[in-house]
């Protein structure tokens, strides 16, 4: 059986594909980035410019994948223009999903993010999957993430012959990941908003990879939308301390204008993620645990320590 994984140059996808190969599955990879230096990929790798390219259809025709794992969402911090991000994340995802329906893919796993719920002072804690996705209303920069999620959930209902799982993980952290939270925790010096210290959830890269593989290969799958989180919560400053770093508090009345002024050049910090360091956005992952019998192997403390002690070596 063949599996198509997008965003395969990322570290998380690297762990996922290795685990799939170990299970004896044939893997094909797709990404807009080249494979990182020195990483061997046990399968066919295709580099495309966009997920909307016609070449992508050819990959489906050639490999006839039964499972599509879409990890290729590009983060807000990675790309300069909003349009680019929108094209890649929203149009690309829709294209991939329509191809999946056309070419008889039986299972689709889409990696979304907990950011779609939005960080807001009115948020209740333990947000369930049926909560409104506020993020695009609060931060227009997150529209692409919310629409990607929408595209996936719409696909879930419209194409009932395809089993779709949409995962909305909390902060995925790991020594090999290059996302904002992992980089912050590795850097050792983390800006924080003075007087605000929201509680956060962290899940280790290995646990997240396990969750993705589980959703893609479980014998008796439960399709739907699921929050995925780690073992417990920790406040931001405690998390930083556990990872061996320290926080540099900046008064929010200064931080917002400064970051806003420099946001054009994406210096310092992504502006649209600042509220996640001010208000809590805590998700309830009990549905996923129940549906897949999933329990994170690493505790929050272990996950944070593993990031803090690492040098951030790509693997």
């Amino acid at each position: 059986m063949s599996v198509l994984v997008t965003g395969v140059s990322g570290a998380l996808a690297g762990i996922v594909t290795r685990s799939l190969v170990e299970q004896g599955l044939e893997v094909a990879g797709l990404d807009v980035r080249p494979l990182p230096m020195g990483r061997a990929f046990a399968g066919e790798f295709y580099r495309v410019r966009h997920y909307t390219q016609r070449r992508v259809a050819e990959v489906f025709r050639r490999h006839k994948p039964r499972i599509l794992i879409h990890l290729g969402r590009i983060r807000g911090t990675a790309v300069r223009s909003l349009t680019q991000r929108y094209n890649q994340n929203v149009l690309g995802t829709r294209h991939l999903l329509s191809l999946a329906a056309k070419h008889g893919v039986s299972r689709v796993v889409v990696l979304s993010t907990f950011h779609v719920y939005g960080a807001h002072q009115h948020n209740h804690l333990m947000i369930r999957e049926d909560a409104p996705l506020r993020a695009s209303q609060i931060f227009p920069e997150l529209t692409d993430a919310v629409e990607l999620d929408h595209a996936a959930t719409t696909f879930l209902w419209r194409h009932r012959s395809v089993g779709t799982v949409v995962l909305r993980p909390a902060h995925v952290i790991g020594p090999n990941l290059n996302n904002l939270m992992s980089r912050l925790l590795r850097s050792g010096t983390c800006p924080s908003l003075m007087g605000y210290d929201p509680i956060m959830q962290f899940i280790h890269q290995d646990d997240m990879a396990r969750a993705i593989v589980l959703a893609a290969t479980a014998k008796s799958p439960n399709f739907g939308v699921f929050n995925v989180a780690g073992e417990g919560v920790a406040s931001y400053t405690h998390a930083v301390r556990l990872a061996g770093g320290r926080t540099v508090p900046v008064p929010h009345v200064l931080a917002y204008p400064i970051v806003g002024a420099l946001a054009r050049w994406r210096l310092i910090f992504p502006q649209h993620l600042m509220d996640y360091f001010r208000y809590p956005c805590v998700i309830d992952d009990s549905e996923f645990r129940k549906a897949y019998g999933f329990t994170p192997q690493l505790s929050t403390v272990e996950a944070l320590r593993s990031v803090g002690q690492s040098e951030g070596i790509p693997r």
Partner: protein, 290 residues
């Protein structure tokens, strides 16, 4: 010299209480519970608030045995501008109940936008007053505290002390839906800590906060006037009420139940005031102010 000064400060809480508190919480490996409660911070806060509780407000508690184990909804009267009444009820449950209970107060929705205090409140187990939070906490068999009067109660002027304001109906619906007993609570004395004689509504609107009290001492005496008056406080826990029926009944039917809770609180307040003739003696003054 520092050693002598330190002896004047409130002593840290006892190891026994500390162990009991830790035992009463379900914590993550990082020492937080799912709702942000952080016993380590709470213990440090308790060191100071315990002094407020025993020495400053000299709290007398009655009827603590009425609070059942497991899920419970505490419904006190609200007054006195700052939520000192909520704090003292929470302290009573943490310091005097055995085993100690963490009371989850439901705070106003605008509160998380305040720096420092909001963080501290969350560490001490307070959560935003969202029905979803209440429901989840009750289903976890926790003790929550709701003030159905909200800012209508806490912001009222001294002239209207101990007059229960309009109650919302949401708390009764929640109690029915989650099968939680309601414990009516009366807090006597907290309403006198900040005797507001005038609510500067225009200034509150300007600042975007619910009310701005003016007391005989504040803002006249500056920071000194911002201190709460050291009024002795009495907290009375009433007998638990368990409602059954339809959580989605029309407002009229729910209102009866709300009124029952209200009457029970009023009766507790009456009893508390009877025990404090000097508070009663101020009644003509309050009537004059109205």
């Amino acid at each position: 010299m520092f050693a002598r000064l330190r002896r004047l400060l409130p002593a840290p809480i006892s190891p026994e209480l500390r162990a009991k508190l830790r035992g009463a919480a379900k914590l993550s490996s990082a020492g937080f519970d799912t709702y942000g409660l952080h016993p380590e911070t709470l213990e440090r806060v308790l060191r100071w608030t315990r002094w407020l509780y025993y020495s400053y407000f000299r709290v007398e508690v009655e009827g603590l045995e009425n609070v059942p184990a497991g899920r419970v909804m505490l419904v006190p009267n609200h007054g006195g501008q700052l939520p000192l009444d909520g704090m003292l009820v929470g302290l009573a449950m943490a310091l005097e109940a055995d085993p100690p209970r963490f009371v989850r107060g439901m705070v106003e929705r605008w509160f998380p936008s305040l720096p420092f205090v909001s963080t501290l409140f969350v560490r001490c187990g307070q959560v935003v007053g969202d029905p979803e939070n209440c429901k989840n906490l009750l289903e976890r068999d926790e003790a929550i505290m709701v003030f159905p009067e909200g800012v209508r109660g806490s912001g009222k002027t001294w002239w209207h002390r101990y007059e229960l304001q309009e109650f919302g109906t949401g708390f009764v619906r929640l109690a029915i839906a989650t099968q939680s007993p309601i414990v009516p609570v009366a807090v006597i004395g907290a309403e006198e800590t900040y005797p507001s004689i005038y609510d500067a509504k225009w200034l509150a609107r300007l600042l975007g906060i619910p009310y701005v009290p003016v007391t005989p001492f504040w803002p006249l005496l500056g920071p000194l006037g911002a201190l709460p008056l050291p009024v002795p406080v009495a907290i009375k826990f009433g007998e638990p009420i368990t409602f059954s029926g339809d959580a989605d009944a029309p407002d009229l039917d729910v209102q009866e139940k709300v009124d029952l809770v209200k009457r029970r609180i009023e009766a507790l307040i009456e009893r508390g005031l009877d025990e404090r003739p000097w508070l009663r003696a101020l009644d003509p003054v309050a009537r004059w102010g109205q």
